[in-house]
Amino acid sequence: MSPDTSAAAESHRGHHPALVHHFDSLAEQHEAASLGMWTFLVTEVLFFGGALMAYSVYRSWYPEAFASASHHLDITLGAFNTAVLIFSSLTMALAVHAAQLGQIPKLKLFLILTMALGATFLVVKGFEYHEKYVEGHIPGLFPFNYQEEPQFFAHAQIFFSIYFVLTGLHALHMLVGLGIMVWMYVWAHNGTIDRDYNSPIEIAGLYWHFVDIVWIFLFPLLYLIGRHGTTAH
């Protein structure tokens, strides 16, 4: 906020119940909240980035084992889930749009849609995890089974370890996202959110879209290695 604009904003002090004492206007409050969320998302990029670096190192060391292990993931479910998340990003964007125009019933509808899609993603993910358990592809916790290509027995465990860390953390972020959506729904329902104060919806949306972006990278990196043949690069 450039300081000289705030004199006019000063006259709005106390006009909105959502304005907290140490800000002069909702605009200033929103700018701060938005910058705060973006800064938080930077930390998220580097959080996932650390695991992606482990992924990159081992994929460059063991390309064949990674391709072999990747073939055990269900590409149909992965692609379906990618579409589900992209769809949920759309409904989230539409929720923000509705909030900006003060269309609360629409906002609530899109929040419910977003939650439903997020939950769908998690259910599908649950089925995938269960399949991994049945196939014996959870390293460490359960006896690891890789009889079909025993030469990759050790290195495939690295792939699956990283797979579970990355997708598990992603699923955890989805769960947190669902919690935030419930919270936003309550605020939309009880009148906290209105045309002048839709900042929380937009901030929550930033988080949701970020989680979507993580999956946009995870899908090709985990599911689509060396799909064109038996050898990988």
């Binding site: 004492h21 140490h22 002069d24 701060a32 910058l35 800064t39 580097l46 081992y58 460490g140």
Partner: protein, 555 residues
């Protein structure tokens, strides 16, 4: 922030101290007394006090482990502790000091207290998140304490794999969880500072009118935001390997323990700058305030903080010269490590230049500032030895390293912390401490510190390895000196607790501006009111605009 027409514009001249200052009627300390008024506060100043008490507690706890270590090393034989218990003692000393004291020490206490005051804001941008960060810190610290109580940790503070994931039988997971959780408190503090400094500066307070303390904390916050998540994921990976037996760093399954070291040091080297940059910010304030001059080369000092924060991310591999990384990686990391010396030297030269022809007052804060400059210079210069691959290989894992980082951490961060605490104590409490007692403590700390750690440079160069509870008898002389110094240092650290607490009840009333310093924090009462300023200040002057010939009335 607001600029109403009725706004009074403060003049650049600091108000001369009143003859007999009185305590303000309403201030943040008497705005509620119950436990609830503290534990549910959103006032950044009260949260700073909560942090001050907690980090000081963990400093003393970490210090206790150091006492045990130095006692053991007073004799060559491993007679006081078993080797296992010795391993646990130095590990707990390191973990407590690094994660629960040094990293939050200055930002969460002085930074929390001063940044809103210095930018002329009523509070930090997110007061609830600020309080949350303290609770997260306490939760993390509880896990750390739990690790001590359930058998301790023996991996060293660095948690190196595969020892931490496969071999160690100590409480790795509780300790790692503690570090993981307290990392979030650090992230939230950094986030709050960044948003506050960007969005909440008072009218007229441009970036280049900000105190250098604020610049240093901005740079620190960048590191907290960009580095801490990487240690968080590293700990997740280690925990997954230890708890679920996943294979990520496990050599048996083709994993690479050196990858752990890359991830660990990507955070933990910049974390050194999380510890020392805020201290540098403190020193800039102390030097300007005690010399009654603008800091020489303000822009250079401001940008050198950012340069240290950024270049600090390029150098982590110098911790891994003997770990098995490639020769070329070592070469690149070595060259990049030398680069960090440039902005660090800019600061030291500019503080020194600021003193030149300044009307230097010799109050306690200035003693700490001078102590910092000297000790940090030694710590920094020995860092150059260590950046050179050949020399580093000679002294890797010896006491030379131990001495080097204690000169930076203790000689740097703790001197800055104590100096800052003495400088702003009158602001925080409204009371003056006993100046003579404070000088005795400062002298004890400086003398005790050098006696403790200078011999360790020699020991390390002669080849005494770190992390052993026994050593050859020819090293005893220097070790005894070191242990003797440590006991002097311990007295030096206990002393301020006594006279600072004493001053709360019996100290003279400080008044708004006992040092006659410029800067927004001195333009409100001591202690400040809950919302910091009666009227939002409007800044029309440059940083450190000291008029000629005004002396402070203390010292």
């Amino acid at each position: 922030m607001s600029a109403t027409p009725a706004q009074s514009t403060l003049s650049a001249k600091p108000t001369l101290p009143a003859i007999s200052p009185v305590m303000p009627e309403h201030h943040y300390l008497n705005n509620g007394y119950g436990l609830k008024s503290w534990l549910l506060t959103r006032d950044h100043k009260r949260i700073a006090i909560l942090y001050l008490l907690s980090v000081s507690f963990f400093f003393l706890l970490g210090g206790l482990f150091a006492v045990v270590v130095r006692l053991e090393l007073a004799t060559p034989a491993g007679d006081l502790l078993t080797s296992d218990n010795y391993n646990k003692s130095f590990t707990m000393h390191g973990v407590l000091m690094v994660f629960f004291f040094l990293i939050p020490a200055i930002p969460a206490t002085l930074g929390n207290f001063l940044i809103p005051l210095m930018v002329g804001a009523k509070d930090l941008a997110f007061p609830k998140i600020n309080l949350l960060s303290w609770y997260i810190y306490m939760l993390g610290a509880s896990f750390g304490s739990w690790a001590i109580l359930t058998g301790g940790l023996d991996t060293g503070w660095t948690f190196y794999t595969p020892f931490s994931t496969v071999a160690s039988t100590s409480a790795v997971v509780p300790a790692a969880l503690g570090v993981f959780i307290s990392g979030f408190s650090s992230i939230l503090t950094g986030l709050n500072f960044i948003v506050t400094i960007h969005r909440m500066r008072a009218p007229g307070l441009t970036w280049f009118r900000l105190p250098l303390f604020v610049w240093a904390h901005y740079a620190t916050s960048l590191i907290m935001i960009l580095g801490t998540p990487v240690i968080a994921i590293t700990i997740v990976l280690v925990a997954a390997e230890r708890v679920f037996s996943f294979g990520i760093f496990d050599p048996k399954r083709g994993g690479d323990p050196v990858l752990f070291q890359h991830l660990f040091w990507f955070y933990s080297h910049p974390a050194v700058y999380i510890m020392v940059l805020p201290a540098m910010g403190v020193i800039s304030e102390l030097v300007a305030g005690s010399c009654r001059k603008s800091v020489f080369g303000y822009h250079f000092v401001a940008f050198s903080s950012l340069a240290i924060a950024i270049i600090g991310f390029f150098v982590w591999g110098h911790h891994m010269f003997v770990a098995g990384q490639s020769v070329y990686a070592a070469l690149i990391f070595s060259i990049l490590s030398f680069l960090v010396a440039i902005p660090s030297a800019v600061k030291v030269f500019n503080w020194t230049a600021t003193m030149y022809k300044g009307s230097v007052t010799h109050a306690t804060p200035m003693w700490y500032a001078m102590g910092f400059i000297g000790l940090f210079t030694i710590g920094g210069l020995t860092g150059l030895f260590l950046a050179a691959v050949g020399l580093d290989i000679h002294v890797t894992d010896t006491y030379f390293i131990v001495a080097h980082f204690h000169y930076v951490m203790v000689g740097g961060t703790i001197m800055g912390y104590l100096g800052g605490l003495h400088y702003w104590w009158p602001k925080m409490t409204g009371k003056l401490y006993n100046e003579n007692a404070a000088k005795v403590a400062a002298a004890l700390i400086f003398f005790g510190f050098n006696l403790t750690f200078f011999p360790q440079f020699v020991l390390g160069y002669l080849g005494m390895p770190r992390r052993y509870h026994a050593y050859p008898p020819e090293f005893q002389m220097l070790n005894v000196l070191s242990s003797a110094g440590a006991s002097i240092l311990a007295v030096g650290y206990i002393f301020p607790i006594i006279y600072l607490l004493y001053s709360l009840k019996n100290g003279r009333i400080a008044g708004a501006n006992p040092w006659g310093a410029v800067g927004l924090e001195w333009r409100t009462s001591s202690p400040p009111p809950t919302f910091n300023f009666e009227k939002t200040p409007s800044v029309t002057w440059e940083a450190y605009e000291y008029p000629e010939g005004v002396e402070s009335h203390v010292a």
